[in-house]
């Protein structure tokens, strides 16, 4: 290391460059070690080697500050020092020094967190206490959000496709409407039934929903014919699930969706068919004959119960040949009307004639 025109005692040694400082270590005297803070360097340049001269790097320094640590020169008269590279390494060193100077890493502030930064994958600093917990929750939430959005990416693709499908079917349906004469009634109905069975709502259906579509009406008529016999067999009442199974088994190929069935059943009354769709308080839906009178049923239920003293819904079902669900509904209805009362115990639910 030279200082201008001053042959330093510092002759042979090793220069080390860190992110914050320039350190010079004497080769002979290992205890001698000088550090120069990089922030002190204003500017540096290189001087090429010449004959008899070695390559040098000249480092211009800031004027010395008051709190400068003790070093070989407490105060230099001269504003720069020269590093002489007698062996080699000057180019590399120059490059590195340039890098460090541009990065100026000594200028980044030390993080204010209490504990030391862990090298976690996310690179977040760990904090203790409530702040830490909050941060963890936030982090978790972000992760979940990301997972969900990733998972649904496929779905959004599907939705885009479905939208196209709906548009297509809508346009075709409109064309059918316009060209009404060109396509036969049959085909129209069939096409619409395909659309409905695919679950794509037909705009024609929506518009005419108040009076019901042709499709549902036809269906209702068909059901009316078909269900009369089974209903008689079962004492005039069938749960909608049973109807669904029967109907689809009979149709074989073109099955009905539950929605279609319900919509068709709702039209029984308006089409003056001898069937009715009925919904109980508990939500159970049944199809029953119009001629089926509820009072009669309840009166007969009361008789049955009085005969046997008391009945559970299973026993009642067996007695009448009804399904357990329907028999329970009937008993509950009788209770609501005050003819029966209940006995709820570990043995099960029994119904007694209301003697109160």
């Amino acid at each position: 290391i030279y200082q201008l025109k001053n042959n330093a005692k510092l002759d042979v040694g090793v220069v080390l460059l860190t992110t914050h400082r320039l350190i010079w270590r004497d080769h002979k005297n290992h205890e001698c070690c000088i550090a120069l803070s990089l922030s002190q360097i204003i500017y540096f340049e290189e001087q090429a080697a010449g004959i008899g001269k070695s390559a040098k790097i000249v480092i211009h320094l800031y004027p010395v500050t008051a709190n400068k640590e003790p070093g070989p020169y407490q105060q230099s008269k001269f504003p720069y020092i020269k590093l002489s590279f007698k062996e080699h390494g000057q180019i590399e060193f120059f490059r590195r020094l340039t890098e460090e100077m541009t990065q100026k890493r000594w200028e980044t502030p030390v993080p204010q967190t209490i504990s030391t930064a862990t090298g976690s994958q996310t690179g977040k600093t760990r904090a203790v206490g409530i702040v830490g917990i909050e941060r963890k929750i936030e982090q978790k939430r972000k992760e979940t959000e990301q997972n969900i959005s990733e998972a649904f990416e496929d779905l959004s693709q599907l939705m885009v496709k479905a939208k196209e499908m709906v548009e297509l079917s809508r346009s075709i349906a409109n064309k059918i409407k316009d060209k009404h004469g060109d396509i036969t009634e049959d085909e129209t109905i069939r096409f619409k039934s395909y659309l409905l069975s695919m679950g794509i709502a037909n705009p024609v259906t929506r518009e005419t929903h108040g009076s019901g579509t042709n499709y549902h009406m036809q269906l209702a008529k068909q059901l009316g014919d078909m269900l009369l016999a089974p209903l008689e067999e079962r004492g005039g009442m069938m749960a909608l699930t049973e109807v669904y199974c029967l109907v689809n088994r009979a149709r074989g190929m073109e099955l009905l969706s539950p929605e279609d069935l319900v919509n068709a059943c709702k039209m029984f009354e308006s089409m003056q068919l001898p069937l009715r769709l009925r919904v109980f308080d508990s939500g159970v839906m049944v199809v029953q004959l119009q001629s089926h009178s509820e009072e009669e049923m309840i009166a007969s239920a009361l008789d049955n119960v009085t005969d046997k003293g008391s009945l559970t819904s299973e026993e009642f079902a067996k007695l009448l040949g009804l399904s357990v669900l329907l028999s329970k509904e009937r008993l509950l209805l009788a209770e609501k009307m005050g003819h029966l009362c209940r006995d709820d115990s570990v043995e099960g639910l029994r119904f007694y004639p209301n003697l109160f």
Partner: protein, 157 residues
């Protein structure tokens, strides 16, 4: 004289709180009168909710039916509304049963006092409830707190 159980006591549905409103009214009325009659018969003045679950009133071992805790609470609430029951503590675990309301007691005592011509004389509470003179009267053995309450309604000097 043993206690006579009403017909409902052996009717299993009696022990299930009926959902049908009309039926429930009748059921609760029957329970109230049963509870009061039982207390009157055995001269019980306080009831503990936990104990009463096991007592023969709410628990019929013969038909293996008993009232659930919720149902017992409903019955007690019904009694309270009628004025026959008072809760001793906030948690509703102990209650005072007045199978005769305090006003009725007051009237009875007054009648007895006038019968024996002792109006305008001084009585101690103890005399009234445990004195030899009152033996055979219904209010003999009446506990102090209910005597006190009965006097609230009636004017005594």
């Amino acid at each position: 004289m043993s206690f006579e159980w009403p017909w409902q006591y052996n009717f299993p549905p009696f022990f299930t709180l009926q959902p049908n409103v009309d039926t429930r009214q009748k059921q609760l009325a029957a329970w109230c009168s049963l509870a009061l009659a039982y207390c009157r018969h055995h001269k019980l003045y306080t009831l503990d909710v936990m104990e009463s679950q096991e007592s023969p009133v709410f628990n019929n071992k013969k038909i293996e039916r008993k009232l659930s805790t919720e149902a017992i609470q409903v019955v007690f609430e019904e009694l309270r509304k009628k004025g026959n029951l008072d809760w001793l503590d906030k948690n509703k675990s102990r209650c005072l049963v007045m199978w005769r309301r305090p006003e009725e007691w007051g009237k009875l005592i007054y009648q007895w006092v006038s019968k024996v011509g002792m109006i305008n004389s001084v009585f101690t509470l103890y005399e009234l409830s445990n004195g030899d003179d009152t033996e055979g009267e219904e209010f003999h053995g009446l506990e102090e707190w209910i005597l006190l309450r009965s006097f609230k309604g009636v004017k005594f000097f």
